[in-house]
């Protein structure tokens, strides 16, 4: 195999069993390596985006706003302001003379037009360079309009996506503690790090409701400003995508003493564990909660298992590769694939920490490739080397799988299929089954040679085009 791994990236790839565990991560992406990562702005935009009754104004040239316009599957049960793309669309003259005046006018105009409950104002690369005073403008508009106007310091070049997560959490934390917490149940939680893709948060809310637990704030899927304001009234924070919202959970613990639990709603074990964790936490206050939770899990699993077994028959022994944004999702995916009788042979993330990768190394099989902040060259090489049957990733990874003639499952923010909860496990299994067992792979050139000439072989003269 051609050496596709950059010298500078060798320490960001670990093969389990071949060497003692060691991996470097949380580094800047290597120039020229075609990283799958985005930037600080992306990180903050991802986290705050689903707050549906807030105005999200991107201060910068048009690209940053247009490429993040309604591309995520975060659904709202009410307002849909988040699905619009607002920008100051900076022009050359704004760059020369400064964009503060334009930002002020745009904010006032949009707040008057839409009457949002808060406004988030994102800074982009250019704002960091020209030095617009975002904070001052936000403060002025906040005073004039009487709603929170929150600057999000997310200049693209000032670190990687993780810094964007932190900026988003800091922005939200300015809201927490400003709302009325009376009448909140003692059995109450905030859902952190769920983005309500394809309505997933509604599945989780239903489980919690059946257990007798009140959800105070959805942060941020199907999110509302008022909920975030009163989030400090909840008894417990459930943190899923921990990379994105752990900072907020920590801030809330420190200031309001609210404990948090890291959970995942993907796959059977992690979903059940999440619910049992909640039940255990509230057992003192409501002794029956555990029974209700056990009934719930039993009911769901009784319905799910036979359906999974049917699909598993065709999937046994197949191989999977995973490359996702946050490492935490990868843990659940590995377990989910095991339920389908499949082996994970490669796993990686854009923003994992050393502890995340350590844990991945512990739960994966010998020989599994573990990789941080990878790129198309490495991914295609690993997929070929391991001869996988399915690759799990996002839109940017999809063509890599398909060009190699292997199945694909979109497990990123743009998916339109709910993959959380017991229902989500079934949806996931169905999707994996649909792609892995598709007859098309029988005909892709890697499996079966073409009976006619390859596209780059010129043969018949006839009326071929000349160019």
């Amino acid at each position: 195999m051609e050496p596709v791994i950059f010298e500078e990236r060798k320490t960001q790839i670990h093969r389990k069993g071949a060497e003692p565990f060691s991996i470097s991560c949380n580094k800047s992406s290597l120039a020229g390596a075609v990283s799958q990562r985005a930037c600080v702005f992306c990180g903050s935009r991802v986290v705050l985006y689903p707050i549906a009754d807030a105005l999200h104004l991107v201060h910068g040239p048009i690209g940053c706003a247009v490429y993040t316009w309604d591309i995520r599957g975060a659904m709202s049960s009410g307002p849909e302001l988040h699905r619009l793309s607002f920008s100051t669309d900076l022009r050359e003259k704004d760059v020369i003379f400064g964009g503060e005046k334009k930002l002020y006018q745009a904010l006032v105009e949009l707040i008057d037009r839409h009457g949002p409950n808060a406004a988030f104002v994102y800074s982009t690369c250019i704002v960091g360079i020209i030095g617009d005073d975002l904070k001052a403008v936000c403060k002025k508009v906040e005073a004039e309009k009487g709603i929170p106007v929150i600057p999000v310091q997310s200049e693209g070049f000032k670190g990687n996506k993780r810094e964007g997560y932190l900026a988003a959490c800091q922005a939200m934390f300015t809201l927490v503690g400003t709302g009325d917490t009376s009448a909140i149940s003692p059995l109450s939680v905030n859902i952190l790090g769920d983005f309500n893709l394809a309505g997933e948060i509604w599945i989780i809310q239903d489980y919690l409701k059946r257990m007798g637990v009140e959800v105070v704030a959805n942060i941020t899927g199907d999110g509302r400003v008022e909920e975030v304001r009163r989030a400090h009234g909840a008894a417990l924070n459930l943190v899923q995508c921990s990379g994105a919202t752990m900072d907020l959970a920590k801030m809330m613990k420190e200031k309001y003493g609210i404990p948090f639990k890291k959970v995942s709603y993907f796959g059977i074990e992690d979903m059940s564990d999440a619910l049992y964790e909640v039940a255990r936490f509230f057992e003192d206050k409501d002794p029956d909660i555990m029974v209700r939770t056990q009934d719930l899990v039993r009911e769901e699993l009784t319905a799910l298992y036979p359906k999974l077994q049917t699909l598993r028959k065709d999937l046994e022994g197949k191989k999977a590769a995973i490359y996702v944004g946050g490492a935490f999702k990868a843990f659940s995916l590995i377990k989910s694939f095991r339920h389908l009788g499949m082996d994970v042979v490669m796993v990686g993330s854009q923003t994992g920490t050393e502890e995340d990768y350590q844990e991945l190394a512990e739960i994966t099989d010998e020989g599994t490739i573990i990789v941080d902040d990878t790129n198309p060259l490495e991914l295609s090489a690993f997929i070929k080397e391991k001869d996988v049957d399915i690759f799990v990733g996002g839109v940017k990874e999809r063509p890599i799988a398909y060009k190699l003639g292997v199945g694909f499952c979109d497990h990123n923010h743009e998916r339109k299929e709910a993959l959380e909860g017991f229902l989500g496990m079934y949806n996931f299994a169905k999707e994996v089954h649909a792609t892995v067992t598709s007859p098309v792979w029988n005909f892709t050139p890697r499996r079966r040679k073409s009976p006619i000439a390859a596209p780059d072989v010129a043969v018949c003269a006839g009326e071929e085009r000349t160019s």
């Binding site: 990283s35 048009i62 071929e464």
Partner: protein
Amino acid sequence: MKKAEPFVSTTNACKMCTPLGAAVAFKGLEGCVPFLHGSQGCATYMRRYIISHFREPMDIASSSLGEKDAVYGGKANLMQGMLNVIGKYKAQAVGIATTCLTETIGDDVSQILHEFKKECLAELNGDMPALIHVSTPSYGGSHMEGFHAAVRSMADQLADPAAAKHNGVNLFPGFVSAEDIRHLQDIFAHFGLSVTVLPDYSETLDGPALEDYQNIPGGGTPLDAVRAMPGARVSIECGRTIKAGLSAGKVLQEKHGVALHSLGLPIGLRESDALFATLESLAGCAAPRRYALERGQLLDAMVDGHKYVAGKKAVVYGEEDLVVGMTSFLSEIGIKPVLVATGGESGLLNEAVSVVTEEFPGEPPQVRDGVDFYQIVAEAEALEPDLVIGNSKGYRELARARNIPLIRVGFPIHDRFGSQRVLHVGYRGALNLYDMIVNALIEKKQDDSPVGYGYI
């Protein structure tokens, strides 16, 4: 041109940024890796956006600038990034486009590339790929400015002034689909004309299934063919709104004396006729029979379907060159383009729309440049269109919210399958668009009918 209401903010832009257009254009050069000089996010966002349209790998390298690079300049990252990408991808060419960040910190890319060629030649074992650069500050126009500027840069910077005279034709087709490029190549071949199409992403962004993963997909305009462009007998450039300083045809004309035919995108009957007339004069013979037949079939369809479309009103939006072509076509078939809108601001749209609509009676369409979808929706409200024509971005707020059929053309189309294979150009492209439009109107009529006619 009437200016729309002077909103300060932009809501749902009807354009993308300059480096995106440059990246697409560079993808149409053989062996080329597009490279954005800026922070990592720009390259990743644009990759994602282009992938969702073409469903093809779209590797864009980045110099991945961090905070200290923004302060001290991005030269070191650009040099290292290029070495990395050239080393691993074995690129024959690298197309470097700047971003708002590197334009504003003032990196002199031309000078950096000059130094790179001197300092890194040994490291690359004397094998220096072609390095093309284009200035694309994202606050300096739309993706179309970026596209045209990159095509111009390729034609300008790769051109060999000593290229031998040859009988070939240079074709700058504009931002069209992969299928459009293939169709144009077929037309030239059937005329017996040798053509260099720049850019040619008909394979690189619509590739075949192959046995192995291609780090750089096959296809693209051969570098030698671009180098030989100054020796061509003539250039044909499509697009009525290309600003003078961004025209590849003009730069070859001015620097190398290559005659230039400036045409519109060949969409619809008359704009296709203009292309075919040019080709007939270049080939010195009548168009091959198949095109006379295609033209006749198009006209026959226009007659057969004219009552379905008669008097219908359409809103057209998207790239300026594209909307001019679509407006021209709609006017020919009896659909009234009531609003022609774009986020672009070439300053040439109004004149171009006038030229293609003036021979038809009735009110000329409202022409709006520099607008976003907030304004397009607001204006469309009063005009009560029967049809909306443009990219996917008009779906939710414009078409769906008002239950108006949307005909998807241009870029991006990411809520339908096969966007790279939408044929817009030539008589056959017009026929394809015509069928889509008539069928959309019939479907709407059928669905809206209380009795649901099964036979129309």
